[in-house]
């Protein structure tokens, strides 16, 4: 459904991505791992249209979305949950969720049903719904960010470092939810992670980025046994 072909991308005139190609199928969880500065977030932002991509092209269900304005890409159904959560801190949890649905029309009832669905997926958010999102803990803020993304009925959900800065127990929760979203709601997921162990465990395919290039790609199961991955990313 999403096809990235030979994309170069620039970030402040420094070429951050070289000749990247990847593909995401209909119910996949695809992961992208790599160290800090490898270009993982730049790739995600190039798909969203926040970073300018050069050469190559990005297509989504046949539509060319290369360098499309980010708000249009969102309306096309590609939803990015950005690194560092970037929730709206001065708005309540409920308002944050409602803003997630900005790109689609919902009736009052439809909105309530959708929010109820999010509370079932993230029961903690129900208790916190009238609190300012900025007052929540890191893990809760990550739940708000993912729920806010799901509120847009994504056709493709892109998660940028959902485990960043979270306690290990909460990281487990987050990955459990990612798997549930993929299985129950049939939403394909593009997952960018530094936590290679978790990323390989939940995804079916994995791309390894180094210095803005894809150096290894393959099924996550095989990669998690490969010597090179174990040495470089799994601390073996």
């Amino acid at each position: 459904m999403l096809k990235v072909e030979h994309i170069d991308a620039y970030y402040d005139k420094i070429c951050a991505l070289h000749d990247i190609s990847l593909e995401i199928g209909d119910d996949d969880i695809i992961s992208i791992i790599g160290s800090n500065g490898a270009g993982k977030s730049t790739l995600m932002n190039a798909i969203s249209g926040i970073v300018y991509g050069k050469n190559g092209r990005i297509t989504f269900n046949g539509k060319n979305i290369t360098n499309q304005k980010p708000y249009i890409t969102t309306r096309d159904g590609i939803i990015q949950v950005p690194e560092g959560r970037e929730i709206f801190p001065k708005m309540t949890v409920l308002e944050n969720l409602e803003m997630g649905s900005y790109s689609i029309r919902r009736t009052r009832q439809g909105m309530n049903d959708k929010i109820e669905e999010m509370y079932e997926l993230f029961p903690k958010l129900r208790d916190r719904k009238s609190q300012k999102a900025g007052s929540l803990s890191g893990g809760e803020q990550q739940m708000v960010a993912i729920a806010r993304g799901l509120m847009a009925d994504p056709k493709l959900l892109m998660l940028d470092e959902p485990s960043l800065g979270l306690a290990p127990v909460i990281v487990d929760d987050v990955f459990h939810i990612i798997e549930r979203v993929n299985k129950e709601k049939k939403i394909p997921i593009l997952l960018v992670e530094q936590n290679a162990f978790m990323a390989l465990e939940v995804s079916s395919r994995c791309y390894v980025l180094e210095n803005g290039r894809v150096v290894i790609e393959g099924s996550s199961e095989e990669l998690s046994k490969s010597d090179r991955i174990v040495k470089a990313y799994l601390g073996g």
């Binding site: 708000y71 969102t74 990015q80 970037e86 709206f88 409602e98 806010r148």
Partner: protein
Amino acid sequence: MAATIIQYIISGIAIGFIYALVGIEYTLVWNSSGLLNFSHDRLITLGAYIFAGTMIIKLNINYPIAIFLTFLSMGILGALIAQGIFNPLRNMRSNIFAVMGTMLLGRIIAELIRLIWGPVPFTLPGFMTGTVSIGSAQISKANIIIMIVSILVAVSLQLFMTFTKIGKAMRCVAQNKRASSLMGINVTQNICITTGISAIICTIIAILVIPLFNVTTTLAASIGLKGFSAGVIGGFGYLPGAIVGGLFIGVVENLSVLFLPAVYKDVVSFVLLIVFLVVRPSGFLGKRA
């Protein structure tokens, strides 16, 4: 004596609401685009000239339609300013580009006013004049209208920002532009709408102060600066702060004539501004940085 003090306080509250509206008008733009609109006092002046000079005196349109047409033209102008200056310049390496842009725009508007309507001040005879006596105090009708309209503007703006989709999007854009665009909000368009609303509030201020200052090229020079002080004293970037700051300045400067020669009245707000910048830069309601 008591009646005099009440009169001072009431006219202080009225002019305080004007400062508050000025504070609101530029805070909206500041929150939305991260830029200060240095042409805002000229926009207020322009609004007064379009309303009084063109709509009422030249075309002789009746008041409600004249107000509506002035709002419409100023709202469109605001959106054009956002599209022409704020959006192209807000991502430049330094804010100084956009600052210069709005300053020059202010000069252009000032010269246009002189060319189109001429330098001679004029007034609207019979517009919001007369007084009402409450007890032994005499209160001008203009002051009462200013208070009512300002409260209506502040309340409806609050409702708009809380309950409408565009208003909520405005709050999102003020908090985080990147996340807003990921929500599907067209940030560029939203900044245009916000600046348009800000220009309409400028017009409301303009119409309200016509009975106080007449229509002159320097109509908004002092309220422009005092409105800025109102924002700082109340808590910069926070809309309720602008209201608190505006009312505070208005009342204090009006009461100051009891103790100081009246010529020092205009100095009071700027002294307050400096005191707040030194002692409490976050203002009454702002969070300490």
